[in-house]
Symmetry: C2
Subunit: 306 residues, 2 copies
């Protein structure tokens, strides 16, 4: 329960920023938290549910005097936000973003950060399929990982402080460079999302199978894809547009592999299929051992009774 940043400003009040607020309060990590969102409706909701100590009607008011400014908007607008707040940042303040891609954000935000202000890109790898100010909760980051991606000239002391900050919010932390970050995230997050969106789109579009059938029989595997494909469209559009290279690289590998399996199916190569399907079980075991998922059947959605 040590204050790590006295005054914090949250820009963009969606799932991540609102969860950060509740987690900061839980951990006593910040003295005073201001919040800003572009839409009137979001600001009103925030005020109604007590999100932030003060909700500001202007971006500039929100960041004035802040020791830590958190960019938590879709990544596509972070550069513009940085440009607007830059002249109003307190000397010695720290700016972080919480975007899902890093190379593009660093290119777009970095140049606007004034001399004497720290910039430490972060990526809390946590979320749910729900979005908006009411979707947040204090436990979102518990036992999840936050990747910290220092830029050229980042002050090592500030990077360390940032790790302490995320740990106080419940996260584990790891430091990595931007290019590797974007590749890792393409694998564990971006391509899985793209594939899920695609599968749901195909099912919905198929005239010979009705939507009613897709919905009724979804428990056979499909419904898990629909959860991921219910994530925020604006956020994900920006992710794919700003992590183009890694996305297309991993997509190429995925398609190549899928075609190999398609060929095994077409030629009736049962051995290849069986070997492939056996191999993938090991990764699941690793995830369970690392405490990153539940071992309960069906994620615990079924009531198990003999």
């Amino acid at each position: 329960m040590t204050v790590i940043y006295e005054r914090v400003a949250l820009i963009g009040l969606g799932l991540i920023a609102s969860s950060m607020f509740w987690a900061m309060k839980r951990g006593g990590v910040a003295g005073h938290v201001t919040g800003y969102a572009r839409s009137d409706e979001t600001r009103e909701t925030a005020r109604r549910i007590g999100l932030c100590d003060e909700v500001c009607d202007s971006l500039v008011d929100a960041v004035r005097d802040a020791d830590l400014v958190v960019l938590a908007t879709p990544v596509g607008v972070m550069g513009r936000v940085a440009e607007e707040i830059a002249p109003h940042l307190k000397p010695g303040a720290t700016v972080i973003d919480v975007g899902s891609v890093k190379r593009t954000v660093i290119e777009e935000v970095g140049p606007h950060i004034p001399e004497g202000v720290h910039f430490v890109p972060c990526h809390p790898m946590a979320g749910t399929e729900h979005s908006g100010p009411e979707a947040g909760f204090s436990t979102l980051f518990d036992n999840r990982w936050c990747l910290i991606v220092p830029v050229e000239g980042s002050d090592p002391a500030e990077v360390e402080r940032m790790q302490a900050y995320w740990q106080a919010l419940g996260s584990n932390t790891e430091v990595m460079d931007a290019e590797h970050h974007d590749l890792v995230c393409a694998v564990v997050s971006h391509i899985p999302h793209l594939i899920a969106y695609t599968m749901v789109g195909v099912a919905d579009d198929l005239r010979r199978v009705s939507d009613q059938e897709v919905i009724k029989f979804s428990a056979a595997g499909f419904r898990d894809f629909t959860r991921i494909a219910a994530s925020d469209p604006t956020m994900w559009r920006d992710v794919f547009l700003t992590n183009k290279d890694a996305t297309i690289e991993i997509l190429g590998r995925f398609t190549e592999e899928l075609m190999a399996l398609q060929r095994a199916i077409r030629t009736g190569d049962g051995e290849q299929l069986h070997a492939y399907f056996t191999h993938t079980r090991a990764i699941r075991r690793g995830i369970l051992e690392a405490g990153q998922d539940t071992d309960k059947p069906d994620f615990g959605r079924v009531k198990v009774e003999r």
Copy 2:
């Protein structure tokens, strides 16, 4: 609590058969249940946990006198099992299978069914990523759908009885033809599984991202794929080999759609991406309204606290 079949034989004692046993006991649906599994170990386990009223060491002993015989082996061996039991089936008995594909099973099992014995293919669309005799539980079929696929000459009275049987086990039921069944299942189950297996395989195989990274950061979307890709390899090998046509058709549609999205990413067409990602949310809403999944964030895996 009405006995629908006096004597039932379960052939193959995995997740589905064991769940049927517990559900039959719960509902008082069967008088006496025998079970058979090819492996000694499975039969021993079944005896140890009280699975079946009697575990038989031979297939023929298990089916003798049975009013209902359930083929619950991987679909690839059902034809052989049917051939072996055929001479020992009681006149007037009913044989069902619970395989995930129907056209091939009907082709392979159908010809062995003797005159005077009913054959009613069924597909309970329920399961978890766990397998084996200890994975079963009585509530597995509750509020899930069982598809019933009558063959040429199926007795309508027996089809109706079969619906009553599955309803007594907790399922909803729907009758459909084999070809449509195989297409629907390719969409809601087979292709989602193939894609999940592929994605997990790609992640595991990528040298520039370590398995440790994949495991640690899996909560960002990937872990959901690993659950599906932990399903029984033999069952899934057989599914793809026996539902080749529908699998390859839907795979073609999937790849086409994925390529269109890849193109939108490459050309920076944000509008197309946003529209696509918005559209897919509607299907999720339908699934929640139909009671086929939980609305809790992250399938309820996170502890939500403000």
